[in-house]
């Protein structure tokens, strides 16, 4: 048996981008493998659930878990990994704050099932079949994982030690946080690893062009307008969420002329990212007239929830569950 520390990687409700971020380490991953033994990584290597079950409790040093929790299978797996690991890390936006899958919390399970098995324009389902946890045919019974009423961020289901933000976490963030872990110099529990504690604007190359006060008569949508280069996106009217978002990504999106959508999550001290983003965007509006304010908001945003809560709806104060450890 090797004496190297064991690590596990697992995904829940996610797009796979976070796994890709690990692969993106390229040759640096060799340094990781040199220092650690991967005992579970369903995306890349052939391990079974039994392999994890056979480990002793706490035998895994670190489990990196990405994706939000939506089904009973995901809940069981993360609880199992929690039991077997010393440190659990919520890897990426979905695990950290619920992510894009979390936007489903504004619909009921019934609405979602109806859309995907009945009303969606490409759906062909004349027998009106829907997935059920148990399915019996010809005396055979099958079980599929249960689809929960809502989406959970990882720390609403299990105890989480550290967070790595990003959708997906950038290469440097992943690298820095992994090496922080191996260095043994661990920050206090609950810290965000690898990222900055200052707002994104702080590291944005366009920050110098940002005036002290910004007022806007209209918000522009990035899908319909081409931003000027080398000029703060916010003063051009694009809703860049840099001022309320944690830095650490080196302003990658802004460098590509795309406004920040907030994937690195809230700054320290903010409890509800969406409420804070809303507060900041609303105060930029340059109007004192009720009707005009409404127009500016309505014209610009067919879906305001998807703008301010793009990555964090399950962690909104409204959906936050108090009793975290017992699965919410």
């Amino acid at each position: 048996m090797s004496k190297k520390p064991k690590i596990a990687l697992y995904w829940c409700a996610s797009c796979g981008g976070c796994e890709e971020a690990v692969v993106d380490l390229a040759e640096d991953i060799l340094q990781v493998v040199e220092k650690a033994e991967i005992v579970f990584w369903p995306v890349a290597m052939d391990f079974k659930r039994k392999d994890v079950e056979n480990l002793k409790d706490g035998e895994i040093l670190v489990s990196f878990i990405n994706g939000a929790v939506r089904t009973s299978e995901q809940e069981e797996m993360v609880k199992l990994l929690r039991k077997k690991s010393k440190i659990v890390i919520a890897f990426g936006s979905c695990a950290y704050t619920g992510g894009i899958p979390g936007l489903a919390n504004s619909y009921s399970k019934e609405e979602i099932m109806n859309y995907y098995y009945k009303e969606g324009i490409t759906v062909f389902n004349p027998e009106d079949k829907k997935p059920t946890p148990q399915y019996i045919e010809k005396n055979l019974s099958f079980e599929i994982p249960e689809f929960y009423e809502r989406v959970y961020a990882l720390d609403q289901v299990i105890d989480v030690d550290y967070y790595i933000p990003g959708c997906a976490p950038t290469r440097n963030v992943v690298k820095n946080s992994i090496f922080t872990l191996f260095s043994g110099n661990l920050p206090p529990k609950g810290s965000v690893l690898g990222a900055s504690s200052k707002a994104l604007c702080n590291e944005c190359p366009l920050n110098d062009t940002k005036p002290e006060k910004i007022t806007l008569k209209e918000f522009k949508r990035i899908d319909k307008n081409q931003p000027e280069k080398d000029k703060c996106l916010l003063i051009q009217g694009f809703a860049c969420l840099g001022p309320v978002t944690r830095g650490g990504c080196e302003a990658l999106c802004v460098k590509a002329s795309y406004p920040c959508t907030g994937c690195f999550g809230p700054l320290d001290g903010i409890e509800d990212y969406g409420a804070k983003a809303l507060s900041f965007l609303a105060s930029l509006i340059d109007s004192k007239d009720e009707g005009e304010i409404e127009n500016i908001i309505n014209e610009w945003m067919p879906n305001p929830l998807g703008i301010v809560y793009k990555y964090s709806l399950p962690k909104s104060l409204i959906f936050e569950t108090k009793n975290k450890k017992n699965g919410g």
Partner: protein
């Protein structure tokens, strides 16, 4: 859960210079209004972070009343306009989250308008009584079903 004896819990967040003084005036003038309202004072309605309002709803407030100075009268010049913008924005968000937007109300009430305060609070209590407890709202059904029998 339609309860006829339902007494809503309302939170009032009032600006120090206008609406809070109106409540004070209503008090010293012995104008009575329903006791459902608990008041918090902020120096300006512009100080009201949308997080406060979400926090209130999450912790059982059935309605939140924001009170600020009339347009043009803000002690800090523009604070109440910021309140107005945030309020409009927040209303839309609440609706999409599954909270009845009528549970949030903004009123401009000056220091001399004790009567208006009395009327607004009475109206608001009646309105929220019709809506019922906040736990009836869609957003909370999700939270509650998930906090009770494990996530089912």
């Amino acid at each position: 859960m339609k309860d006829n004896n339902f007494e809503p819990k309302l939170l009032g967040i009032f600006c120090n210079w206008c609406t809070y003084l109106a409540a004070d005036l209503a008090g010293v003038s012995r104008m009575d209004y329903p006791a459902n309202l608990r008041i918090v004072r902020t120096m300006c309605s512009g100080r009201i972070d949308p997080q406060f309002i979400l926090w209130a709803f999450r912790n059982g407030a059935d309605g939140v009343l924001i009170g600020g100075c009339h347009p043009g009268d803000c002690h800090y010049i523009e604070g109440n306009y910021k309140t107005l913008r945030r309020y409009k924005f927040l209303k839309r968000i609440l609706k999409e989250m599954g909270i009845n937007e009528k549970r949030l109300r903004l009123e401009w009430i000056s220091a001399s308008e004790g009567e208006k305060l009395q009327r607004v609070v009475k109206e608001f209590v009646e309105e929220i009584k019709k809506l019922g407890p906040i736990s009836n709202d869609d957003a909370f059904k999700k939270v509650l079903t998930s906090t009770k029998g494990g996530k089912k």
